[in-house]
């Protein structure tokens, strides 16, 4: 595989932190403030020259073809062809998006539903190939997108760990090293050797979280993953995310939780309809976003009132 561009910086990354992911964090969850300062400090502390580019996105565009939507059949295809059905053939989920993430930064991406936030994360993770523009991401990427959806129901938890790890591109050596750690973190007892189909949804989520966070990434992509499991596990997972945030050279976070944005991130981007509306200090960006969503809410309320009124008075 490709050689690590800056090997020295990897060696400098804290390795020990991962061993203490066990139960000792449950009652001792670091406050968000602590994590924030730590994360900012971590960027400076590593011997990566502060300010070196980790992610660069230039004129990025992602186009979806509407003709090739899910489960097309020949019949529909022919019908559309015969009728020469005109209509929107494609739409841009992202258009002309450019930004740069330097080492030590954490970037929040906010915006209303359907703005292209998750698409952007998928592009950064390499899952979706852009239709226009260029991106470059330096370092090992870990994406915590939807958790546990790719499990094989017939296989045991342990087998799924191996399978998922191999899909994520871990080497055999890394997998062997990590399996026990993942099992411990998921903490689902004897169920680990039972088929996934016997799991509760909470157990699934726990295992998914444990696998996804088992890597020590340089670039961490987060898509609202903290709402998993019970109180205890949630605290534990929050602690693990804090830890990853401290270690990672760059973080891109998609969330609707504005307190998270302001606490964790030192920069934010507001996406609307695939375009960057504003980029800058989290407080400013959140303010604009709240202004916009308040306007949208008012508009929606107005429409509800209108239609609701129409129904009431036939």
């Amino acid at each position: 595989m490709t050689s690590e561009p800056r090997a020295a910086s990897v060696a400098a990354m804290p390795q020990a932190g991962t061993t203490q992911t066990g139960s000792d964090h449950e009652d001792d969850v670091p406050s968000i403030d602590e994590a924030k300062t730590a994360s900012r400090a971590a960027g400076i502390a590593t011997d990566v020259p502060f300010g070196s580019t980790v992610i660069e996105v230039r004129d990025l565009g992602v186009k979806y073809s509407l003709r090739l939507t899910r489960k097309t059949t020949f019949r529909q295809g022919f019908r559309d062809l015969l009728k020469r059905k005109e209509g929107p053939k494609s739409f841009w989920a992202l258009r002309d998006v450019s930004f740069r993430l330097v080492s030590g930064e954490s970037l929040a991406i906010i915006g209303p539903n359907g703005a292209g936030k998750s698409t952007l994360l998928q592009v950064l993770a390499g899952i979706i190939t852009p239709s226009a523009g260029a991106i470059s991401v330096r370092g090992r990427i870990s994406s915590l997108l939807t958790l546990g959806a790719g499990f094989d129901a017939e296989l045991s938890g342990r087998e799924n760990i191996l399978l998922a790890g191999a899909f994520m591109g871990m080497s055999h050596q890394e997998l062997v090293e990590r399996v026990e750690r993942i099992v411990q973190f998921a903490d689902i007892g004897e169920f680990i050797d039972a088929p996934i189909k016997t799991y509760s949804s909470g157990m699934r989520a726990r295992l998914g979280f444990a696998i996804a966070t088992s890597v020590d990434p340089d670039v961490l992509l987060l898509d609202e993953v903290l709402a998993t499991g019970d109180q205890v596990f949630r605290a534990k997972s929050k602690a693990r995310v804090n830890e990853l945030v401290k270690q990672a050279k760059g973080i891109v976070l998609v969330t609707h939780d504005m307190t998270w944005v302001q606490e964790y991130c030192n920069r934010a981007i507001l996406l609307e309809k695939g375009h960057i509306v504003i980029e800058g200090d989290p407080a400013d960006v959140v303010a604009v976003h709240q202004e916009h969503s308040a306007a949208a809410k008012a508009k929606a309320a107005e429409e509800v009132a209108r239609y609701g009124g129409a129904i009431k008075r036939p």
Binding site: T2, F74, I135, R138, E154, F167
Partner: protein, 285 residues
């Protein structure tokens, strides 16, 4: 390893040969993952059954039995001598082919959730389906050995050692088809339904239950040209399997060489098609 540096530039597109070479590099570098997928697949197929993976051995035997009964009724008993072995030599490779193509159809679409979450080379999915088929083929050699030793010891010959060569040619051909159906099925889910019937018809138009000469005569009688038989890669494949297993003679070298040549071209074409379609998988699924 996860990719250390991920760079996409839409203004730079690799050419056809670049894409094909990339696909083979991906398969090689992810060989361990392919192994995991195959093992998981075997486990899944054995799960929930009393006899588990013993079915891999029993299944071809039962299938042979069905055809022996069926064909003896139709033929009225007058078939080639040692008829069970005669058809077993064709049923075994066909099971591999049909299950690989059948699994190949859904190999990409069934991993929808994973494809949307994790970046990995999708070409390994149909490839793993074909490899899983090889494993079942290898298991099927156990009952073959059993039949030979117990019922037809006089038919055991050194040409049995040539089975892997015939299988290698079949592998390349199967690979081409599995890659093709797996990528097209992402866009048109009809492929699965079509494939099922096409495979069935294909089997009956191949010299599996009959010898090639017999089938040729039969087809001519019904106005179908023997061309069907000559164009069918499974004519050369089945005849070759039958030569080495049943007759104890050399495979049809010329026929095999033709099938191999065709298959290599098909693999290059279908892998190229797959790689061109791959970027839209995550969007369409």
């Amino acid at each position: 390893m996860t990719t250390s540096t991920l760079v996409y530039d839409t203004s730079v597109r690799p050419g056809a040969f670049g894409l094909i070479a990339e696909a083979f590099r991906e398969i090689w570098s992810r060989r361990r993952l392919i192994g995991y997928i195959v093992r998981a697949d075997m486990k899944r197929k054995g799960a929930d059954t009393l006899l588990g993976n013993l079915w891999w051995v029993i299944d071809p035997l039962l299938q042979m039995l069905v055809y022996v009964v069926l064909v003896s009724v139709i033929r009225g008993g007058a078939g080639p001598p040692d008829y069970p072995l005669f058809i077993f030599a064709a049923i075994l490779p066909w099971k591999w082919f049909s299950s690989s193509v059948g699994d190949g159809v859904t190999s990409v679409t069934s991993q929808e959730a994973l494809i949307k979450q994790v970046q990995f080379p999708k070409i390994i999915l149909p490839f793993a389906a074909v490899i899983a088929g090889i494993v079942s083929f290898a298991f099927g050699l156990i009952p073959l050995a059993g039949i030979l030793i117990l019922a037809y010891p006089e038919r055991i010959s050194a040409t049995l050692l040539l089975i892997p060569i015939v299988a290698a040619v079949q592998f390349v051909f199967t690979m081409a088809l599995a890659v093709f159906v797996s990528s097209v099925n992402v866009f048109f889910r009809d492929v699965g339904n079509v494939a099922r019937h096409v495979l069935r018809l294909w089997f009956y138009l191949s010299p599996a239950l009959y010898s090639a000469d017999e089938l040729n005569a039969l087809l001519n009688r019904h106005g179908l040209v023997g061309l069907v038989l000559n164009l069918n890669p499974f004519t050369a494949l089945f005849e070759s399997y039958r030569n080495v297993i049943y007759y104890g003679t050399m495979p049809e070298w010329l026929g095999l060489a033709r099938v191999l040549g065709l298959s290599v071209i098909l693999v290059l074409l279908t892998v190229y098609l797959f790689k061109r379609l791959e970027p839209s998988f995550a969007k369409v699924l």
